[in-house]
Structure formats: structure tokens, C-alpha cells
Amino acid sequence: MGLDYQFVLWNRNKKRYDIIIVFGMLFYLFLFTGLTLIFKSQTTMETLLIRAFGTLALLMLHIILAIGPLCRLNTAFLPLLYNRRHLGVSMFLAALVHGGFSLFQFHALGNTNPIYSLFTSNMDYGSLTNFPFQVMGFFALLILFAMAATSHDFYLKNLSPKIWKGLHLMVYIAYVFILFHVFLGAFQQETSVLTVSFMGLGFLSLVTLHIITGIREAGKEKQEYEINVDQWLKVCHVSDIKTNRAKICTIDNGPVAIYKYDGKISAIHNTCKHQGGPLGEGKVIDGCITCPWHGYQYLPHNGQSPPPFTDKVQTYQLKLEKGIIYLNPRALQEGTYVEPIQIEK
């Protein structure tokens, strides 16, 4: 959130994470180079570069896809979520180096257009086993390009949530293409069981992580709350919520985030107006509920973005009786002020 657009929206934390990303990438590249020179000393420099950057991009993609469920399982991973966009762009750059070198190495040294050569050097499109795996890598790279190119705040705001989210959901198509690119490539280019094993392990870990998180969240959505005489829902004990964090409870109107901050509690609708991010998975920063996805902010007592911004979400009334939080499930109009409930000491 800002009054103008920055080239890169850096703050101290983001700079620190970007430094970690750069050093992490360099460390991996040196490690891969060292291990290759020790165990496969006959590898040529071009092949080494192609494989180093390809496996780096693959590793980074797995980390990126794991961040979402990890944050839902443990809030300690949230800083990774705040910096996921920079990690995504860095991953695209690694994939671009891999793709660029591969295109040059395998297709640019003849008298045919390299892109045309990429599509026609293996014409076995009818076979699942011999399918031209480089074409899958090419299309995956195109998707990653579109995602990286639209990661700036300008596109977040102006492409509309529907288009932007739809475009970025294509990461799953890219991931499937990359899985086949690596899998078929490993069989068609070399008999490396190691590459396929690492990729299989990554795939299994990701699928397990997402399914566990999905089951947990589906369970939360089905949770039924005790109803008191005023038809308010008994949610939880106030001590169940950490300071500056929220508890998300799902009612008929959708998920609600009940935030504890500054000795008070307030409730707002859980869905961010910007891109549909889960507000309850964020935290209170500078007195504002901050969306974990893109940092959009709302005041906890009225669900309004601080001026001059104009986004608003629905608010809810709360009651506190003997440390138990009760929620009125009837949502108030977006941006309606609700007096925060003081927590008795």
C-alpha cells in the first residue's frame, strides 16, 4: 500500500530477505558446481550451467509452492509469505538463465530459427514417453514470465483481482509442465535416478503439505459453534488468541477474523478487498490489520483502510463474558464502526 508506486517496495525486512535470497541462490550454485565437478568431472561448462540454474529454479519453485500451506500450519513462516513475490521473480530469472542457455546450446548453433528448432527437433508429439520435453519447459517459462512481469503493485491493482489471481493460478499449470519437463528430460537425456528421485520427493512433500492443510481448513469450516440465548456464537477463550494475531471462525456469511490487539478485541470479515487474501492470517502492524499477501491494511474497529485509501470490509459485534468471546453472526455494513471490547485483566 502506498501513495505512489516504487520501483521496488523495499523496507529493512524486505532488503534482509532479498539478501538471503541472493546469497541462498549463490550458495546453491557453488554447491551444485562443486558436487558436479567432484562426482561428474566430465560434465561440460554449458551443461553445468544449464543444470545448475534449472535445478535451482526447480528448488525455488518448490519452496514458493510450500510457503502458503506452511504459513497456515505455523505463523512463524509468515515472513516468507510477505516476501514471496521477490522469491518468485528470482526463481523466474534462474529459470530464464536455464532456458536461455539450453536454447543456445541445443538450438541456436544451426541455421534454423532456435524457437522453430525447439518445436521441431523432436516431433514425437504422439508419444507420452518421447514427448518433446523442451517444449513443456518453454511453455512453463512463458507462464513464469507472465507472472513475474505482472508482480508489480501496479498490476496487482489494475489487472483486477479476478484476472491477476487467474493469471497467477497458472503457476499450477507451469508446475505440471515442469514436472514432465524434468521427468521426461531425465529419461530422454540421461538415466539419472537421482534427479527423478529428488523431484518425486519434492512433489510428494508438496502434495502432502497441501492436502494436510486443506483437510485442516475444511475441518475448521465445518466447526459448529455453541449458540447463546441472544443467538450469538461462543467462539473461544480470549487467551486462545495471541496478541496482534487473530482467530478465524467460519460462519454462514463466510470467515471472520477476531483480532486481539492493544488490550482489545475486534472482528472483521476475513477476506481482503484487494486480492481476497486471508486477513486473519496477517497481523496488526502500526495499529492496522495487515493482509499477509500484499500488505493491504484495515483499521480493526471499523474495517476501513486508513485514509486516503477507501477499501472497506464488513465488521462484527463481539461480547466478552468471563473470558469467553461471543460473536454476533449478523455482519454490519462495510466500514461500520464497532466499539472494541476491552479485555478485563
Partner: protein, 209 residues
Amino acid sequence: MLVLIHIVLVILAIYFCIGLCFGIYFVLAGAAKIDPLIKESKFNVRFLLAPGSVATWPVLMLRLLGKSTGAKGVNLIKTHRIIWLSIAIIVPGLLFLSIENLSFQNIDVPTSDRPQSEYEKVLKSKENRFLIASIVHVQDNKMQLDVTVKKSLEYPTLTLYAIGENGDRNKLIGQIGSKGTYRFTIEDNINGILLYDALKKITVTKFEF
């Protein structure tokens, strides 16, 4: 298939050519028409918008024409769940099918493997940077081909053939894997050998004795 590839490549080329032209206009003027906040920003920000405008020019053009591109506040948590479930079910199946069809030449790999102590006489031997190959006379008046792979050959399906009189693949001898020594019983004396990758359909190396 070639026609389809041409169509795909032409569509891609047209899309990116229009995108490039639109990108220049968008960086210079279009972005500020969609979002006046860009005027308040430094000029270098506009250059960062260029790749995105090339990639998404049809949507941005709709925005410039004043068309709506969707409502706010989408919640896609369930969509993510469905996608992951689909990936978990479909992808392993496809991966399995892709290697189930993997034909390693449909060959019966010869199984003759004799200890070196039974050698009687080395008849022929030759070496290049990949292999050492020897034809030896073993007990019971039989011949054996010993092939030592000196370093890992990064080909998925290496098969060993005896070469014919005109130097082409003649008779299948067996399959070669990673680095190591392989021994095959052969019935006749052979002129030379070649290593062939059937999946990539290339001859990796060959030599005559």
C-alpha cells in the same frame, strides 16, 4: 503436426509483436490513463511495467477502453484445494504411463558372464575415450566380448551392436548401463561394435577391431 506447430508459433509471434508495440505506448502514455498514480511515481517505474504490458496487453487494452475486467474480493482457497487434489491424482498417473511405455529396445539381454580366470586368449582389443572392448577366447571353444565403459555415458538406452560389413548396425549383442565391465558370449568373430541410443535414435560411438 508441423502445420499445428506453425500455427502456434505464428500466434505467439503475433501476440508478442503486438505486445511490444502496445508496451511502448503503455509505458509512455497508457499506464497513466489507467492509473493516474503512475504520474506521481518516478519514471523508472514505468520501465518495470513494460514486460507486464507485453504479456497482458489484451486486458490492459480493455481497461484503456473503459471495460471492467472483474469484481473485487475473490476467495480462491477452495480452488487451490481442488487444483492440488487434481494434481495429486492425475500427475502420478501420467508420469507412470510415460515410463510404462518406455521401451528399452525389447531385447533379451544376453546373460553370459564369465569370471576372468576362465580366459584363455585375448584375440582382439581396442580402446577409445568411451570404451575398452576385447574379444577373448574362453573355455569350451567359445568367444566372449568384454566391454569396459570407462566413464558414465549419459544416454538413457544404450545398446551394443556388432557392426556389419558396411559399418552399420548388424546384430544386437546386449544392453550397456553405467560405468563398469560387461561380458557377452558371442557366437562368431565380429568386425566391430557400436553403441546405439534407441530413444534418441543416435549412434553414440563405434569402432572396428
